[in-house]
Structures are given as structure tokens and as C-alpha cells.
Symmetry: C2
Subunit: 176 residues, 2 copies
């Protein structure tokens, strides 16, 4: 059976609030691992992962909004001083994809995360969007993050919201 074009999955990823920028948030990491284990499984050629990191404009972040990163080598050629903030985050996910053998692309945009994600959905037209979400703590069962809730309503593609497991929820909700 000939395989059709790979299913293109867009993932919004962000940094850890506790550990800072080199580290992805627990919910981003969880959403990624869930997608690999439950959707991609062993069909590594059937899927392509697209990673989007949105920086809010007042952050002291990385300025390159034009580059696309698709292999760990794309990060090696950069000067150390440029490897700051959001780029570490992309490198984490691109390297994991490389280990697993699934193709990927990653890029950075600046703006309001929920609006930028929906804008990028309209631009790149993925088959679906995966967003992690910080809900599901003992007192937060009903809460679904504003970014994921906005995307479910407004994104022009199917959206899957991955809530963090309760046992991964830090005691202080700000510590993700």
C-alpha cells in the first residue's frame, strides 16, 4: 500500500516557568511524548512534526523570526551567543525528533501566543494542532488554559488538547 503524504502535526511549545528557557515546560514535553507514543508510534515516516514557539514581545528573546530548523546540525553552526532563549527550546524538540527518526521543522514567532498559533495554522495548514495545557491539578480539573481554549474555538484545523497528568502538576500552579 503506497503511503500518502505524511500527516503534518503542528505543536505549540513553550519554556519551563521554573527552570527557564533552555527547558521545555512539563506540559510541552508531555504533549510531545504523548504524540510520539500514541499517534506516531512506529510509523515515523507517516508523520511530520512542526514546532512553533511564540515569544511574547516584552521578553528579551531571540530575534530571528525567519529561520526554520529541521536537524540538530542546524543549531551547531550558530555562534554560541545566538543560542539563547527560544532557540534552546526548538533544539530540544528537533533533537528528540532526530533520535526518533521523525522529520520535523521548527520556528519562532513573536506576539500573543493564542493569536499567533491560529495565524500560523491558517498559514501552514497542518492536519491538526497539538497544544499542551496546565490543567488537571486537584483544584483545576475544570480549567483549560486560555491558549488551548482559544485554539479549539478559532483554529482552522482539528485541535487536540493534552492536559498534564495530575501527578506531574507542581504544587504551585505557576511552577511549570
Amino acid at each position: 500500500m503506497e503511503e500518502s503524504e505524511p500527516t503534518r502535526i503542528l505543536m505549540g511549545v513553550n519554556e519551563s516557568t521554573i527552570k527557564g528557557y533552555p527547558n521545555p515546560s512539563i506540559s510541552s514535553k508531555g504533549a510531545f511524548e504523548w504524540t510520539i507514543n500514541k499517534i506516531v508510534r512506529s510509523s515515523t515516516t507517516g508523520f511530520k512534526l512542526l514546532f512553533l514557539h511564540v515569544q511574547v514581545p516584552d521578553e528579551d528573546g531571540f530575534d530571528d523570526m525567519d529561520s526554520i530548523y529541521a536537524s540538530p546540525d542546524d543549531f551547531k553552526n550558530m555562534k554560541q551567543r545566538d543560542r539563547t532563549r527560544g532557540l534552546h527550546l526548538l533544539e530540544y524538540f528537533v533533537s528528540r525528533c532526530h533520535q526518533i527518526g521523525v522529520s520535523c521543522e521548527a520556528w519562532i514567532r513573536r506576539g500573543d501566543p493564542k493569536e499567533v498559533i491560529c495565524h500560523e495554522v491558517a498559514r501552514v495548514r497542518p492536519d491538526f494542532l497539538v497544544v499542551g495545557c496546565r490543567g488537571l491539578g486537584p483544584f483545576q480539573r475544570v480549567f483549560v488554559g486560555t491558549v488551548s481554549e482559544f485554539c479549539v474555538k478559532h483554529a482552522e484545523c482539528p485541535v487536540i488538547t493534552i492536559k498534564r497528568r495530575a501527578d506531574e502538576t507542581p504544587q504551585d500552579p505557576v511552577d511549570d
Copy 2:
């Protein structure tokens, strides 16, 4: 590479408002075909589909809430008079799975669809839930059906909402 347990996908399915019970709704059919084309792809052994049809209590429906249907043969042995309403709906999806070669189970429950779906998620613990939704007409872009919205917030598993394509939306929203 040894495959782990199949990914279990629960789908809530309902009937067409226009054509009546033997016919699945456009949104249920769309959500099913999307799941096969974009998620299952050629990995038919990597997934198991679970179909849940919830009948609202005032409908003149089928009474058997205990049986599970997993193959087209499970429907053949029934008397014609029993093959009414919700059961035709299950037969449609079970037969499609059989054609495609993906294993499945299907069953009926009665109650408030959004609450029953969340209850069944807690009981059968699928890896994720797929719900179709009637939104995305020209005047309905923001609307996400109450069932899917409730499930996104309350179901104890990841939820993917498949909006119907705009070109499949009937002119009168009640005609699905």
C-alpha cells in the same frame, strides 16, 4: 521494533438529523474518516476504535445497553425487528472498520450525551477521545458544540474536536 498495545480511540457517534437513524451524521462520518486518514493511516494494527452512541432517554430507541459489537457478523444474527435506530449506526462504523482492517468495539448508552461520554471515558480509559462537531459554517466559526466543549473541559483524557468542513455544512444548521 516490537509494537506496544494499540492506541485506543473512543469516538462519540450520532445519527443524521436529515436522513434519520440508519445514517450517521455528516460530522460523525467526517470525524471517523479523518481519524482513519490522518491518524491510523496504514498502521491498522496500531489502533483500536471504540464507538459509543448515546441515545437521549425520550427517543424511541433500542434497548440493549449491555451488548458490545465488534464485527459485522455480530449484527447478522439479530432479528430484523431488533435492528433499529442506534444499532444501524454502530453497524455502519463496525463494517467500515472491518473493511479497513482495524479492530473495534461499539456499544450504546442512554442519557445526556456529554455526561455519558465523560463517564465512559472514565470507565474504559481510552488514550483519547474524538468528537465531531457541527461548527465552522459561515456564521458559526466561533461556535463549538456544547457536547465537544464540555468533553474538552471535563473528559479525563485528551480530546480532539473535528469540525465539519465549511463546504459540508448544510444551509440550515439543523440539517446535519
